[in-house]
Subunit: 149 residues, 2 copies
DNA sequence: TTAATTTAGCACCGACTTGGTGCTTTTAAA
DNA sequence: TTTAAAAGCACCAAGTCGGTGCTAAATTAA
């Protein structure tokens, strides 16, 4: 159904969370509780993000994770690629497993589609997800509330 | 990995094929052979497209499938929705299974992403996939060939 | 009428992916 | 030394995906 996995979803939520928490270390337990997501799975996701050097990790008491770099430097595409592997829209693109060079007439257009989808994901940085950041996009609920004020 | 399923892939290929074959009926066997895809699976896909009244079906000898309407009237999004079910980018969007209204800060941006991805898929019609049609986008291979001439 | 061709319907299966957990080790602070 | 936390690795259940089997219904041709 063309959807992101939970890994990406939790990852994006966690990064947004970290972004809004200044530079302090946050533990997985803390984050999982606040975000109401399964702690162990979140831990796996954060491990991957740390391996990709997107966030710093600190072991031991008062340890946890913290943003390594400016959130505006990373896009949703980057995160999805880290957590789900290479984004490959179909098998049917030149150079991939589509060997129907002669008969397959769609990979021209499909490549364009894939390119544009990639463009969309690259058009959003982590800052867009991070509350408090000037680039943040409000949810419908939040927007409604701010209108009431 | 954010990819289309084989159902969508075969469906799009088949529709491109039908679009390039004037208005005659084409049998599944014929199409599957020409496109080098598994016939039975292609048959399932075409059944779904026929149920959606996107193509006409005709049983019996010399039967098969044929385009019902103008290819420019259908977008890639339509096909994907028919063959994969409702496109739902994440669980995390207002009104969906994301019940973390208060804590989840990403569904504002995620909704925008989903909207734009939908926009991309809606920006391509079947005509873009159909060789012979003026809107058709050539594959890299075909383009290379035409340059050689 | 009969046989052949083709779609329609429905159920099913094996393999892979996904979401999630268990357990042990390593690091670091109190 | 104890405790809190991440790192590593393996594992499992459920779901999805690609694909197939089988039977019925429709249509054409002989």
């Amino acid at each position: 159904m063309l959807r992101l996995t939970k890994r990406s979803e939790y990852g994006l939520m966690a990064l947004a969370y970290l972004g809004s928490r200044a530079a302090e270390f946050c533990s997985v337990r803390e984050m999982a509780e606040d975000m109401a997501v399964p702690a162990r799975l979140l831990a796996e996701v954060l491990k991957d993000l740390a391996r990709a050097e997107l966030i710093n990790s600190q072991r031991g008491p008062n340890g946890g994770y913290q943003f390594a770099k400016d959130p505006t430097h990373f896009t949703i595409f980057d995160i999805v690629e880290i957590l789900e592997g290479e984004v490959q829209f179909t098998n049917c693109a030149p150079g991939l497993t589509c060997t129907r060079e002669s008969s397959c007439t769609i990979h021209g257009a499909i490549s364009k589609v894939a390119e544009q989808v990639k463009g969309v994901l690259d058009g959003f940085t982590l800052a867009h997800l991070t509350p408090g950041h000037p680039d943040h996009m409000m949810s419908a609920a939040t927007a409604a509330k701010s209108l009431q004020v």
